[in-house]
Every structure is written in C-alpha cells, then in structure tokens.
Subunit: 201 residues, 2 copies
C-alpha cells in the first residue's frame, strides 16, 4: 500500500530512511544515476533489504518523487495559510516565492529531488505524477489569477507563460546556488524583487 499505517514507530522508520536516502541520491545523481547500492549505503542498509519494502527500483524512486512533489506543494500552501488571507495577492505571491526557495534550497532533499528529476523520468513514471505536478502548479496559478484580478499584473503578460517562467527561475536556483557563496536570504530577496517588478502592471 502506498498509504501506510497511521501510527509509525516500528521499523517503518527504516522504510522512511530508505525513501529519504533515495531522495538524497536522486538529487545528486539524477534518475539514471541512482543506484540501489548508493541508496542502501546512505540509508545504512544492505542493498537487497530495500526489496523488503519496495518491489522494484522504480517503485522506490516513484515514491520518493511522490513524497517530494507533495512536500513541495504543502510547504508552500502551509506558508500561505499562515499569511493574512486578506493581504494583497502580490504579497502572498512573494511569500510563496520565499517558501519555495527555502524548501528547495535547504529544507527538503525530497522536494528538490522531485523538482529537478521529474523531467528525466521515463514517460510512464512521469505520467503517474502528472496530477501531483498539476496540483502543485495550480497553487501558483491561483495566486497569479488573484494578482491579475487585483489589477497588479501587466495585462500584456500571458499569465500561464509568465508563471512558468517565474517557476523556472526558482527551480533552477537549485542548480547554481551554493550556500558557501551567498546567503539564502539574498537569493530570496532578488527573486522576490524580480517577480514583483516583473509582473507589475
């Protein structure tokens, strides 16, 4: 079953260790480069032990990606939930930008792995995550729509295209940002400014 027991505590913690490890390796090596032996090493488990929890390499990666997409979405929605609901949409968008970058760059190997790996997945597997991806983008789409309704979006911009361009800017940060060479806050600040100014009417 995908959805395990509500309680944890057994050594279904091992299972989670394995998924975490998969995300870790996935993030650094990409889909094809993710070897079970590496995952096992990170998870502190013998490689064949993975087969007790997952019926195949694909299954494991599939779950890691699913968890990542879900986490990426929920961390953004959580951040939005904490913000005043009546704030201008453009401000809420800026909050989402910050949350997304924080998630991607420091909080979650899962989210980062999912975002960076999805494009490399074999078609069949990507298909399985279409919906999750859509759910994730829809959160953003709603925000942009609100921004437009409040008249803060440049009418010459196609909202869908603009959104994808913005998300691209955010997602790509994972490729170049080096914690040793620049502060996270710096990246967030630049991204927020670019988005606010860029979309502005």
């Amino acid at each position: 079953m995908v959805t395990g027991p509500a309680h944890d505590s057994k050594s279904a913690r091992t299972r989670r260790r394995v998924v975490d490890a998969a995300a870790h390796v996935l993030l650094r090596r990409g889909y094809a480069g993710t070897r079970l032996s590496d995952v096992a090493e990170v998870a502190q488990v013998q490689a064949p032990a993975i087969y007790y929890y997952f019926s195949s390499r694909e299954d494991l990666i599939d779950e890691a990606v699913a968890v990542g997409l879900d986490r990426a979405r929920s961390l953004v929605t959580d951040a939005l939930a904490e913000a005043p609901a009546d704030a201008p949409a453009i401000d809420r968008l800026a909050i989402a930008v910050a949350a997304h970058l924080r998630t991607l760059l420091t909080h979650s190997d899962h989210a980062a792995a999912a975002v960076r790996t999805v494009p490399q997945l074999p078609e069949a597997m990507r298909e399985r995550h279409r919906q999750a991806q859509r759910d994730y983008v829809d959160v953003w789409r709603a925000l942009v729509t609100q921004v437009r309704e409040e008249g803060d979006l440049d009418p010459a911009l196609d909202p869908g295209t603009a959104l994808m361009v913005v998300l691209g800017a955010l997602n790509w940060t994972a490729e170049w940002w080096d914690p040793a060479r620049g502060s996270l806050e710096g990246v967030i600040d630049a991204a927020q400014r670019l988005v606010r100014q860029g979309l502005a009417a």
Copy 2:
C-alpha cells in the same frame, strides 16, 4: 576546438552525427542515462563504431558538451553583434534573451543539452568546462553591468544574483515549453517583459 579538420566532407560527417546524437540523448536522458547504444541508434551506427572516433564514453560526452557550450555562447554573441552597438543595454539584453531562448528551444540540441546537463556532470568533467561556462556567463554579466551603468538596474538588486535568477528562468523553459502548446514568440515575449520590468530601476 578539440580536433577537427577545417574541411569536412569525408565521413567525418559520421563523427558529427555521433556527436549530434550524443547531444540528443544527453538532452533527454541526462548524463548517467546516456547509453552508447542509444546514441548509436540515433546516429545510425553500430555501437562499437563510436569507439573508432572516441576513445571512451566520457570523451564523447565531453565533446558534445564543449560544442554545446560554445554554440550557446556564440549564438548569443552573434545576435548581439547584429544589433546596433549603441542601443540601450537593456534592449541589448532583451535581444540576448530572445537569442538564448531560440537557441535553447529550437535551434540546438547541443546548446540545450550542455546547459541542462552541466550540473549533473562528474566533478572532473565539469572542471574541464569551467572556463567555457564562465565565458558564457560573462557575456551576460557584461550586459548586466552595462545596464547598471546606464542606470536602468534596480540598485537594490545584486547584479550577480539577479543574473543567475534570470538565466535560470530561461534555461528552465526547456523543461516545460511544448512547441505544440504555445508559440516560441509568446515565451520570448513573456521572458523579455519579465526581465525588462524585473530589473528596472
């Protein structure tokens, strides 16, 4: 240039087919996912024939990436060379944005493969391309510097960070843009507007 006789015409066209095929596969499958058998199939060649031209898989990928980075840079600089040299820097930047997107999305598997793959390369290989990457980014850096000197850059923006965010937005388009579902010109237009507005003082 790695090797390359100035004249072609022999079956050094085969060699080029192989490099082209490598870029093609690289773009879709990533570094670790690039199998020589797939490259061979695309290039219409038997797999071992590749070893007539390249001494190893690494060598082949290395050259494909080198060609790609070089092409990405030169297509942008060529476009800039055709623009009036005394145009405002912000306009020249917009030209570069358009050229980059055109290259990435329709003109060159090589450029797209290089741009999207470099982060996944093993350290040793990435090292070999540091300079080419720097050359490529430097073209942009120079543009941004000019924009700032002409007073068109928001002083609150860190130029380096802003540049990377912008390049990210461009590079990521390769992940989502679907020629069947939206015009290239639409993407270019959105990107140009976002960049102009986003960087503006």
